[in-house]
Homo-oligomer: 366 residues x 4
């Protein structure tokens, strides 16, 4: 169970530290014949790039991706696709002062406990930069899903106490929101809230929602590899995620069966449809043809410049105030990461599900 | 990605349908030399057995487990442990009337879409009886963890709108609660609520909480196999789970960093401790030595005798009222399943983590 | 890496000891809609059943298989297929005398070293009876392959120094050969040889060859999951196998490129064919459309009644003569095991390979 | 089953094509605290570097390795180690002439059949350059094994008809042999043979033998993950390997039990030892404490300048003579690849085996 490898048929292996030479991912199991350019992947990386507005760290990283293998004459070849992004700000000196201190809310203490020591430069492998490999792989998965008629919309649902409202929701408005909120009013309120937190040298959490459209019914592998289980587990693997829910989610626990069940009916085209979607598009771990709706809760950025009590490696109690400027919220930059994890998971599950029926296998081999 | 196999070093393969001949599990990777009897496993199965009180289906199933392999002279041998439970009520005739109908909230429609047809007897593999294999494997995992000083407490946290309160919480009271609630008053209120739902031919959802004590810091494999990601994904694989959260969970999204971060301090014994546990015992995907606290939200039982609109296999709209008596709530019987999944996941992660450090490996091989 | 689970898309988990309650296998990932009866599986088990002639142990085991799950109304449902065979001769008393002694050529010593103790009754999990699960799974795989137009012929190629000749080879004659040799003359010679070995209280090894016809070009996953690598590794997992080769095999090491290369030509139907098959049907780890030809070398049965020097658990040197009657050769009973492992491997690889091309995936989902 | 990922606890993901930008490997699961430098890995790459003598292709590739992640202050951190080697001769123009032709003995035809098209430049992913990732990972595995007291000796056993003799075998002489033969006389004879083959525009195959010393008894996971099965499967995954055998290997099939069994005795130190090693160090899939002895047969290089009959992509018959200079034999350069695969396999198995016994696990966690 080497922790940086994920998937069965569509397998990604990410690597790299915040201040190492480079970060990247190897994608194995991408089908041959998919058109793929560095630009396809760059678009995804740009969505998580730092320094795009006042709510994200101004660390200057161009984060340009290179395709090192697996693509020939503009198309994937079926062999592993190796993608790399070079780090440019590698000054480890900046971190010497906190090399021995365990920052609250970070993995410093647990990494030391697990491995005996750690790469303390900017969190090393525990840094948010680790998600570069996820986003790069996600760009490929989204392209594959697009070929199958599947699209994904991901956005910030709430920041601190400020949530978008379903009435005002407008995906177009997300483009102008520095917080990726598809609701202009909520976005402005959230900006106010965030600026207040920044003034207080504090940070905020939030919730990201992801809606997947166009998934045919029948995707997902009962029992342990249920589609929702795979999605939830993989979203939970994103740093700072503390909760995941699907459809009605935690609210379902407070409902009665008659409220929560989705009835079936025949639509005008003679197709089976559901009259509501409390289930979030998945029944018994298998897609039911409705939109898949999933949410992830992100904790507030642990790096804050307010003073905090902690200890160092030698067991001395210390007061720490984390200098430099850090993201007061990671949610907007994490939107593309959530989308990527959903896409990678779904691709793997769709591929795995191709062998569910003998009649379809026979047809495939004819 | 065959969906009924789980784990890497401690691997479980469950099998069986609600009304097939038997259900069971093969546990591969259990270390040799663990004392294990059928009674150890039976205790876990008894916790999920139907018909124990008025809030669970009266289906009469003794659910006695047999150990078919892997144990010799009272001890595990290191070879696969095969466990089986025979079904006694196999009358498929009872289900002919709903064989073609898609019950709302069930996997009937999606199983048909995936596999082309399905075993319609009592849900087949999608039945709650599928969890027999999970509980049987969980009993073994709990025994292993016990040897390492790890204990797990799992209980019903809420049923519908009724939640236990932290002041009244008393694990002793759980034993007398037919709902597995460790709070006498809340349990009585929840019984009232449930009886009302039953009168309304309706059902209820709820939340289960699990607290793991005694896990040393350092367990969990970043990046994709983080301890919380593995726990969340595997809990989500339990039928009816719609949300999972750890520590502060979804509430963390509404907090600021200064509220949510857990400070470190030195305790009287010179050990590093956290002054709070918003993180739920896991930082950066690795255990931090505090209790691991995880919750799963269960949707209300979809089988209700109130009338519901639906369709059948031939695309005809139907009104269905699900006869017989069904659990008005599955949460109390699912408590042991949650505990089992947590134990199975943790065992696998602890085993996987044994190779994290070269110095410890060298010592092991000396 | 729990050792009793094999495969990715078509996964088998075998379990059981020689003298435990039962042996069996769980097959996960079998597609839905395949007609399957106990009789289909029984045929394979009967091919490895003991006591069928003087060259196999007369241990009386009916070895009747039961299907416990995964089949409904005569067809597979896509859920795990659990198969079990009950042991009838469970007297562990017979083995007390050799419980502490390390039999030469057996796994007694290494099992003790690995696990600290072992189930000494008849070899426990190391017994040849472990292959019951393999053969049962193989029966299913062969059925699947049959649906895709693939057939497998497996036979004894040599016993001790006696080999079949390509001129005399006649698959029909295999049915009458108690040694599964498709060459009447060679079979008779081999019987003479074996009887001599039995008189000498000794045993013999041999070679099994397997020819797979009807595999389309394009099956196999470079780099590590090459079709030949998967076949070889899985054949090597059968107890007593000490070598595996494909096509020209070890002889290829002595040839020059001009001798060993297979030229391509266009056949009368305008299809690409090879003018020879030194490669054994696999190029670069991928099937080339020719017959796949693979051989496994089996060591002589280690259980012999001649006296041998050994030691016991307490480090005392002993002379051992293994009583009772044992197979003087396991090759004829292993023929079905080889066939099963080839079928299981090939099924898994065919399933995995369905996602190799984007155009085919798109077509599949249309 | 993405084919370029291997292992469970020690996982390697290789990537790269012969004429792409770079080749490399990501090693996940390497324990923290191992001293590791680029030079450690370079030594292994240099052993397979082309152009070192007249028996290997003079293609000029410096093949310098870069460590991109996973090492901090000279030690591994427990996070993925990403290694890359840049290609310098990327002129695809050289290969246009054979872009459509299926070279006999190569994967050209099967890659096209599998993926619909292929990277035709120098074999793309099917090139021998793919083994760069294997050797780089092998260097790390060998370092780990060295810490556990395990050493590996690998050498050319035979080239065409010329074999080393056990009497003349001298590991010291391997250093001066351009063919990696530890027998000066045999090496000279083999050089004569090779020069003759080169004059004939032909090529030769050979056999590589690998001896692993210092493995404690108890390593290997029955049933499917037997140590010999894992070694054999992984060696077979090296391009050009057509056979693998362990200990007595194919010869064992011709022996009787009394000849092939290895007796046990007590040595002067009161340890259990075997009086012979026909088994090649593995019994029942588990190491027995003797040297592990394994051999792989390599087919002759398929690229020869003699004329061969073949076809092209359009189904036209062609005569091909492969220009340029190619290795007349790949065996000497493959020695380090065999050693690497053995080391990678053994490391993974040793890691997996750490959870075999409950008593040892308890001790580890104390």
């Amino acid at each position: 169970m080497a922790g940086s490898v994920l998937g069965n048929q569509f397998v990604i292996s990410t690597w790299g530290e915040s201040h190492g030479q480079a970060l990247g991912v190897v994608v194995d199991g991408c089908p041959a014949g998919l058109e793929l350019s560095a630009e396809d992947i760059q678009k995804f990386l740009d969505r998580r790039k730092p320094g795009q507005n006042q709510y994200s760290t101004p660390r200057e990283e161009p984060d340009r991706v290179q395709i090192l293998s697996g693509v020939f004459e503009g198309k994937t070849t079926g062999t592993p696709i190796s993608l790399a992004v070079w780090n440019t700000s590698e000054r480890s000196g900046d971190y010497q002062s906190i090399a021995d201190i365990y920052r609250p809310g970070h993995a410093d203490y647990t990494m030391d406990q697990k491995y005996g020591f750690r790469d303390y430069r900017g969190g090393g492998r525990s840094s948010g930069r680790e998600t570069i490999g996820r986003a790069a792989a996600g760009a490929i998965a989204v392209k594959i899903l697009g070929q199958l008629g599947i699209s994904i919309l991901t956005y910030t649902k709430s920041i601190g106490p400020v949530s978008i409202s379903s009435e005002n929701m407008n995906p177009e408005q997300m483009k102008e929101s520095p917080l990726c909120m598809p609701d202009k009013k909520a976005s402005e309120k959230a900006e106010d809230y965030l600026r207040r937190k920044m003034d207080e040298k504090d940070s905020s959490g939030g919730v990201i929602e992801c809606v997947v459209s166009g998934v045919s019914p029948g995707i997902g592998e009962p029992v342990f590899a249920k589609l929702d289980a795979a999605l939830a587990g993989n979203l939970f693997s994103v740093g700072a995620v503390k909760g995941v829910e699907i459809g009605e989610g935690f609210s379902a626990a407070g409902l009665s069966g008659s409220e929560n069940n989705d009835g079936f009916f025949m639509d005008a085209d003679g197709k089976i449809k559901k009259s509501s979607n409390h289930a979030g598009g998945i029944l018994g771990g298998i897609s039911d043809g409705s939109d898949i709706i999933i949410r992830a809760a992100f904790k507030p950025t642990p790096s804050i410049s307010a003073e905090q009590k902690t200890v160092n490696k030698n067991g001395e109690e210390k007061i720490i105030s984390i200098g430099g400027r850090h993201d007061p919220i990671i949610v907007p930059r994490a939107v593309v990461v959530v989308e990527s994890m959903v896409a990678v998971t779904l691709t793997d599950q769709i591929f795995a599900g191709m062998t569910a029926r003998m009649d379809k296998i026979k047809e495939f081999y004819k």
